[in-house]
Symmetry: C2
Subunit: 463 residues, 2 copies
């Protein structure tokens, strides 16, 4: 064991690019696969964490992936499967020898198996569940019976608990006698005779107190439980907000049925961050390992929405064809107004979407924030109005044109601030994810308002 | 203690909006502040977690904030300060009675004090450090002597450790005798006589093993240490990638000097996610509590960059004024090509920036990913070329115009895919944060290419 640790420390110095797989190791692995040299492959793979092996499998192409998995054979660890991106997980499962797959899955804890199988096709799911022992399979099937994205799906069923009247000594004796303590647990949960959790004690406090101390004298001041049907979003928010490390899950009658730990909550937070960032850009659930056809399918809807909004904006321009044909300078300058509005709107929008996600934008401050965004739009509008007014005059020698673009800039940046904050807030009240839909609405507004204000003013002033 | 728990459970049912402050509680608090009714205020604040109180202070306006803090008085908890957003932390510190401030800070652990004071002005920093006892102040000053964003700044100095030859019994006896075990710790770190950490044991394993078991037989298989100068980004990445819960920090000679726990790493991850999402939208470090003038200052640079790129695009349009004056339809349709390119580019860009941040885009797959993005651009380009070709013919009755917009669409979407992935990759190799700068470059490329391809083809084909 100690030798292995030394090994790991050496590895750290070896990996010059921080914690990524080093290019050297990657070449060595692919070379070993080419020569079908299992010993060389094992030597290179041995120091890698399952998460790194999963990354490796995601980064190489599907042909190498298949050959690597077959050569790696029975050393394939179940944890690698749980770390793999959804997009290639099924492919890897299909390549794995059923015997290796069964062995790999059997090592996992129930929440990891749930995480592994919940997105699989029926057939692949059955293949995995079939390899489990009865007790484990039933535990996994029960978890799967809770709705997706609920606390029930996140929790593990192995809970370390004790009756509320226990002392430190009794708790320690109980844990020493247990044959199957979970790998990772951070609290002992105290339950009353009805199996309702009434508090929990950190392992540190148990270790720091004399055997005779009552556990109820050591419970944490902060104690929260989750109902099994609570959303995983709420669970993750609470873990992050209150710096929690683990928390019990109760059923509708308040009885203890599981525990959620920080790593589960971090996964959810990570996924939600990813979702927010991807949705803001209209990318859906894409990953690097997706094939071209999947990627196209993910991106087309957003581009189609954008096409509709772009055509809407063009219809506005079309109303002013006569004006443009007289002053072609308008065609040259009009994208500037729209583009500035789109950018300012996206700024407000991003702040709003992020604040909604972190629950910092509430009834208490929404009007103050809207006022601020409008004021910021006004100030920025005036700043860039002056700049563009000067540019308009210098470039086209027309103070009237300069005045028109300046006025349109102020109008569009104020509207951008208003739309950027107002649209996500309204969408959220309507139960629509603001990250998903706001972008299209905001740029539609800024394009339409930008073109209409600029060309409309031009038609009035210049003709 | 048990009563308090019941209290907290009742609170949970009371808060109908998930975990946010309920509007009812917020009104009650502001009402109490108005009447200067300290008892009513205390009753409403008592069940709130420090993180919720910090959120409350961020959401109300600065006048109410001041009155609330003064009325709340000496119950002000140091943890509230650590949870507060940077933008109002100094304001709150300035309002606090120096005696209350001293009391509040004295309760905190060293890493929290560091986190609290590192961004403060010299004067406010000294005011806080002056309230600490000598030993604590020296610990904080030592941490502050490490560079910002290093592991040294993140770590806490209180480490639970023991010599490598200890047994479970010796570890438990040691912890029972310790007067000041940290509030949160998850491992006992084993050190050799040179004070080098050689492994660590989870508290769960210590509790589950007989007293005679040697700790070295219980150490975790995975064990990583951080050098004190390592970047907090690397630390956070490792915590997330390897599902770590705590890890020792060593100095240049490999001696144990501190420990980083999951909550510190989560804070960093959270901040980096926030930074990525904000930078992609060009918002800088904004927060909802910022004043108008600060917000304007944060957003103007990006808008200025955008103005330059928009003017560049306009210069392209200006080359084709003659063409446009003959076919005003071009002015109507040209924003569509640019807008579709901008959106497709942003999609590729976001995937790339995110993959770089999660270290999933490496030398191993970069060419495959570039090829994929170009192919996706080609396929999407053809799809929308057909759509726009038809629209062009139906709207303007000109097959030639339809053909021109179709061809420009294909060209721009392919370029968008290439630029969207290529620009962040190149920026990253150059050591520039791709989240910060890629957006401006990519939309410049798609605007310029979009207008040039569309108007250039039009000038060739239609004239």
């Amino acid at each position: 064991m100690v030798e292995e640790i030394t090994d790991l420390e050496e590895l750290k110095d070896d990996e010059d690019e921080g914690y990524t797989l080093s290019p050297r190791r990657l070449s060595a692995i692919l070379f070993a696969v080419d020569r079908e040299d299992r010993d060389a492959l094992m030597a290179e793979m041995e120091p890698l964490h399952a998460a790194d092996i999963a990354d490796l499998l995601e980064q190489i192409n599907s042909y190498d992936r298949r050959r690597l998995i077959l050569l790696y054979g029975e050393d394939f660890d179940g944890e690698i499967l749980t770390e793999l991106d959804d997009s290639i997980r099924e492919e890897v499962i299909a390549v794995l020898n059923p015997h290796v797959l069964a062995e790999a899955v059997r090592e996992l804890e129930s929440d990891d198996v749930v995480d592994l199988v919940e997105d699989l096709e029926q057939e692949a799911q059955q293949a995995i569940l079939g390899t489990l022992e009865d007790a484990d399979r039933i535990a996994v099937e029960q978890s799967l019976s809770y709705p997706e994205f609920s606390a029930g799906r996140l929790m593990q069923r192995e809970v370390v608990m004790g009756p509320e009247h226990w002392t430190v000594g009794q708790a320690i004796d109980y844990m020493r006698e247990s044959q199957d303590l979970p790998d990772d647990f951070y609290h002992m949960v105290l339950v009353n005779p009805k199996m309702h959790p009434i508090g929990h004690v950190t392992l540190g406090r148990i270790l720091g107190a004399p055997r005779g101390t009552r556990l109820t004298d050591l419970v944490e001041e902060e104690f929260r439980t989750f109902e099994v049907l609570e959303s995983e979003t709420d669970v993750a928010y609470a873990f992050n907000q209150y710096h929690m490390i683990s928390a019990p899950v109760v059923d509708a009658d308040g009885r203890l049925i599981g525990v959620i730990t920080i790593d589960d909550a971090m996964n959810v937070l990570d996924e939600e961050h990813e979702e927010d960032i991807m949705r803001l850009a209209g990318v859906g659930e894409g990953s690097l390992a997706d094939r071209v056809v999947d990627t196209v399918r993910q991106r087309i809807p957003w581009l189609a929405v954008n096409l509709v909004t772009a055509i809407l904006a063009s219809l506005v321009i079309a109303q002013f064809e006569a004006t443009i044909s007289q002053f072609v300078a308008l065609a040259v300058l009009m994208p500037i107004v729209a583009s500035m509005g789109g950018n300012a709107g996206t700024q407000s929008l991003t702040v709003a979407v992020r604040a909604i996600a972190t629950r910092d934008l509430t009834g208490a401050n929404v009007f103050r924030v809207i006022r601020r965004e409008v004021l910021v739009g006004l100030v920025n509008g005036i700043v860039f109005a002056v700049v563009m007014g000067v540019v308009g005059i210098l470039w086209f020698g027309s103070p009237a044109l300069g005045g028109v673009i300046a006025a349109a800039m102020v109008i569009n940046l104020v509207i951008a601030g208003l739309a950027g904050i107002g649209i996500p807030v309204v969408l959220e009240r309507m139960g629509v994810d603001p990250a998903l839909a706001s972008g299209a609405f905001v740029t539609t507004v800024t394009d339409v308002v930008g073109f209409f204000a600029f060309l409309g003013l031009a038609a009035t002033v210049l003709l």
